[in-house]
C-alpha cells in the first residue's frame, strides 16, 4: 500500500498536533490552570493518529482515557478540544466533560471514556447500528492493554463475533496499565491471541510505525466492511510520560524509556517522508511550525472563550 503524499502530510500534521497539544496540556496542569487529571499519549501518536486516518468518512471511533492523539487523529478540531480542556463553553462538551470525555457523536466520535474498557460494549452497539442500517461504516474501538482484562472486553468481543459486527478493536498496548507491567497483568505474550476466544482474527502491529498501522487498519476495515465480523489489532507502543498528572514512574527504568524514545513515531514518519523524497527537511520543518501555530491558536481560542453559565449545570441531563 503506498500512501498519497497528502495523506502523509496530514498524518504528520496531526501527529504533531497531538504531541504539541499534550505538551501544552501538561504545561497547563503544571501551572494549575486546569484541574482534574489527564492522561497523555506522547510517544503513542502513531497508534492514535494513523489508525484513525485509515478510516473512511462516516466511520466511527470510541476513544480511551488516553484519547487526545486518537481524537486529533480522527480529525477533531483542536480549538474545541483545547477549549474543553479549559472547561469552556466552546469546548466539545461545553466544559462538562474535560479531557476524559471529549466526544462528538455527530462526527462519529463516541467519546473518550473515563471507564477503562468502557468503550468495548458501546462500540459493539454502534457497530450494530451500522450493520442494521447497512451503512457500510465501521467502528474503531480503542482500548489499552490493561483494559483487555475487564469483563467488558470479553462480553463485547464475543457479541461482536457472533453477530459479525463491523468493529475493529484496536488495543494500544503500551506495556503498562498504570504502574502494572503487562507481565503482571496477563500471562500471555500477545494480546492479539485473545482473538482466539472469539474465533476472530488477531493481528500484532508495530505501534510506532504509522505506515504499518495505517495499512493494517485499512485492510482490516475492508474485511470488516464486507461483513466478516470484528478484528482485534494489538498495537505495541509505549508512553513516554507518566500515567497521569502525578506519577513517579518507579515501576520502570530510565533505560527502557530511553530505548523507546529512540522509536519516536513522529521522527520516524519525518524521516520516511524525507528519505522517500516526498518532502524536504525544510518542508517538514515548516509543517512542524504550522502545527505549533495551530496549537497556539487553539490556546488563544480556548482562553478567549467564555466560561459556561452556571445555570448550565442543570442542563443536558435529559433529552
Amino acid at each position: 500500500m503506498t500512501l498519497a503524499k497528502e495523506t502523509l502530510v496530514e498524518m504528520y500534521l496531526r501527529m504533531n498536533h497531538a504531541r504539541l497539544f499534550e505538551e501544552k496540556v501538561a504545561w497547563f496542569f503544571s501551572r494549575g490552570m486546569v484541574h482534574g487529571t489527564t492522561h497523555l499519549s506522547v510517544g503513542e501518536e502513531a497508534s492514535g493518529v494513523a489508525s484513525c486516518m485509515a478510516l473512511e468518512e462516516g466511520d466511527l471511533v470510541s476513544l480511551t482515557h488516553r484519547g487526545h492523539s486518537q481524537a486529533v487523529g480522527f480529525g477533531l478540531d483542536i480549538n474545541r478540544m483545547m477549549a474543553e480542556l479549559l472547561g469552556k463553553e466552546t469546548g466539545y462538551c461545553k466544559g462538562k466533560g474535560g479531557s476524559m470525555h471529549i466526544a462528538d457523536i455527530e462526527s462519529g466520535n463516541l467519546g473518550a471514556n473515563g471507564i477503562v474498557g468502557g468503550g468495548f460494549c458501546i462500540s459493539a452497539g454502534a457497530a450494530l447500528t451500522q450493520q442494521y442500517k447497512k451503512t457500510g461504516k465501521v467502528v474503531l474501538c480503542f482500548a489499552g492493554d490493561g483494559a483487555t482484562n475487564e469483563g467488558s472486553f470479553h462480553e463485547a468481543l464475543n457479541l461482536a463475533s457472533i453477530w459479525k459486527l463491523p468493529v475493529i478493536f484496536f488495543i494500544e498496548n503500551n506495556l503498562y496499565a498504570m504502574s502494572t507491567p503487562i507481565e503482571k497483568h496477563m500471562n500471555i505474550q500477545d494480546i492479539a491471541d485473545r482473538a482466539k476466544s472469539y474465533g476472530i482474527p488477531g493481528i500484532v502491529v508495530d505501534g510506532n510505525d504509522p505506515l504499518e498501522i495505517y495499512e493494517t487498519v485499512a485492510k482490516a476495515a475492508q474485511e470488516v466492511r464486507k461483513g466478516k465480523g470484528p478484528v482485534l489489532i494489538e498495537s505495541k507502543t509505549y508512553r513516554w510520560l507518566g500515567h497521569s498528572k502525578s506519577d513517579a514512574q518507579a515501576y520502570r527504568t530510565k533505560e527502557e524509556l530511553a530505548e523507546w524514545k529512540l522509536k519516536d513515531p513522529i521522527k520516524r514518519l519525518r524521516n520516511f517522508m524525507i528519505d522517500n523524497k516526498m518532502m524536504t527537511a525544510e518542508e517538514m520543518d515548516k509543517l512542524e511550525e504550522q502545527a505549533k501555530q495551530n496549537i497556539e491558536a487553539a490556546v488563544k481560542f480556548a482562553s478567549d472563550s467564555p466560561e459556561p453559565p452556571i445555570e448550565s449545570v442543570l442542563e443536558d441531563v435529559y433529552a
Binding site: 466533560g97 457523536i105 463516541l110 468502557g118 460494549c121 442494521y132 442500517k133 462480553e155
Partner: protein, 329 residues
C-alpha cells in the same frame, strides 16, 4: 376507547410489537427472548413476527446487553432490552449508570440515548435471594435515567410505549407476579400513558397511600377493608418513579393530612424514604396530622421458604395496621 382484555405480559408484548411495527429503528435484545420467548414468555411470537435481525438473542452477557444498547441508541437505533431478571442489572450497572445515563450530560447535551431496559423485579416466586430483588431505588438515584413502573395491563402498554418513544434511557420495571394479571387494554396503537404523571388509583379523604407494583393491590385491598370501617383511603401510583410527579402526591396529602408509602423493596434505603421526605419538606407538612409512615420489605435478602418469603414483604394486614396507626393520632 375500544378495549380488549389481555394479560399484563401480553400488553407488554403488544406495546413492543406496535412500536416495532411503526419504527424500524427499534430492535429488541436480551437472553432467550427469541424462539424461547423470554424466561417469562413475554415475547413469545415476536421472533416469528420480526425476525432475528430485530429480535436478538444475546449470549449471557448482561454488561454488553446494556452497553451495546447504549452504543446503538447513541448512533440511531432505539433498542429495547430485557434483563431476564432485574437482579442481573448488577452486572450491567457500569454500562447503564456510567455510560448510558451520563453520556448526554458528559458530552454537553450532544448525545441522545433512547433505550428501554425492561426489568422484572419482585418476589413471590420462590426463586430466593438472587432472583427476587426490587432495586428501583438504586436507579432513582441516577440522573439521566428515567424509571417507570407499570401496575396494570393498560398501563403496561401505555407506559412502555411512552418509554420506548422517550429519547432517554428508561428502566421499565415489571413485577413478575403481575405478568398473568388480566385487564382491559386500549387497542388504539397510539394509546400512550405519558411518563411523569402520577395516577390516583382510588380516591379518598382520610389518608393517602403511595404504592406501585404488586404492593398496590395489597394497598387497594386494605383500603377496601378499612372503607367498611369508615376510613377513606386515597391511593396514588406514581408510575414514573424517577423523576417523580410528587405534586399529585402532595396535593393529595394536603387533602388527607396523612400519608403512607408502601413498597416491596427493603425499607431502608428504599423509595419510601424519598417519597416521605418529599412530602414532609413540601407545603403538605403543615397539613400533616401524623408522620408519614413507610412500609417496606424487611431489611433482609428474600428467603426461599414460602412462608418466610411471604413474611419478608408487606401484607394486607400490615398495611391495615399502618392505616390504623396514622388514623389513631
Amino acid at each position: 376507547m375500544e378495549m380488549k382484555e389481555m394479560t399484563y405480559k401480553d400488553a407488554i408484548k403488544l406495546a413492543m410489537s406496535e412500536e416495532m411495527r411503526k419504527d424500524e429503528n427499534i430492535i429488541f435484545i436480551g437472553e432467550d427472548i427469541g424462539l424461547y420467548g423470554g424466561a417469562f414468555g413475554v415475547s413469545v411470537g415476536m421472533f416469528e413476527e420480526f425476525g432475528e435481525e430485530r429480535v436478538r438473542d444475546t449470549p449471557i452477557s448482561e454488561a454488553v446487553i446494556a452497553g451495546a444498547a447504549a452504543g446503538a441508541a447513541a448512533t440511531g437505533l432505539r433498542p429495547i432490552c430485557e434483563m431476564m431478571f432485574g437482579d442481573f442489572i448488577t452486572i450491567a450497572m457500569d454500562n447503564l449508570v456510567n455510560q448510558a445515563a451520563k453520556m448526554r450530560y458528559m458530552f454537553g447535551g450532544k448525545a441522545k440515548v433512547p433505550m428501554t431496559m425492561r426489568l422484572p423485579f419482585g418476589s413471590g416466586t420462590g426463586a430466593a435471594a438472587q432472583h427476587t430483588q426490587s432495586l428501583e431505588a438504586w436507579l432513582c438515584h441516577v440522573p439521566g435515567l428515567k424509571v417507570v413502573s407499570a401496575s396494570t395491563p393498560a398501563e403496561a402498554k401505555g407506559l412502555l410505549k411512552a418509554a420506548i418513544r422517550d429519547d432517554n434511557p428508561v428502566c421499565f420495571i415489571e413485577h413478575k407476579l403481575l405478568y398473568k394479571m388480566k385487564g382491559e387494554v386500549p387497542v388504539d396503537d397510539e394509546y400512550i400513558v405519558p411518563l411523569g404523571v402520577s395516577d390516583v388509583k382510588r380516591e379518598g379523604t382520610d389518608v393517602t397511600i403511595v404504592s406501585y407494583g404488586t404492593m398496590l393491590y395489597r394497598v387497594l385491598e386494605a383500603a377496601e377493608a378499612v372503607a367498611k370501617e369508615g376510613i377513606s383511603v386515597e391511593v396514588i401510583d406514581p408510575r414514573t418513579l424517577y423523576p417523580m410527579d410528587t405534586a399529585t402526591i402532595i396535593e393529595s396529602v394536603k387533602k388527607t393530612g396523612r400519608a403512607i408509602v408502601v413498597h416491596e423493596a427493603c425499607k431502608t434505603g428504599g423509595l419510601g424514604g424519598e417519597i416521605a421526605a418529599a412530602i414532609s419538606e413540601s407545603e403538605a407538612f403543615d397539613f400533616l396530622d401524623a408522620p408519614v409512615l413507610r412500609l417496606g420489605g424487611l431489611d433482609t435478602p428474600i428467603p426461599y421458604n414460602r412462608n418466610l418469603e411471604a413474611a419478608a414483604i408487606p401484607t394486607v394486614d400490615k398495611i391495615k395496621d399502618a392505616i390504623y396507626k396514622v388514623m389513631n393520632r
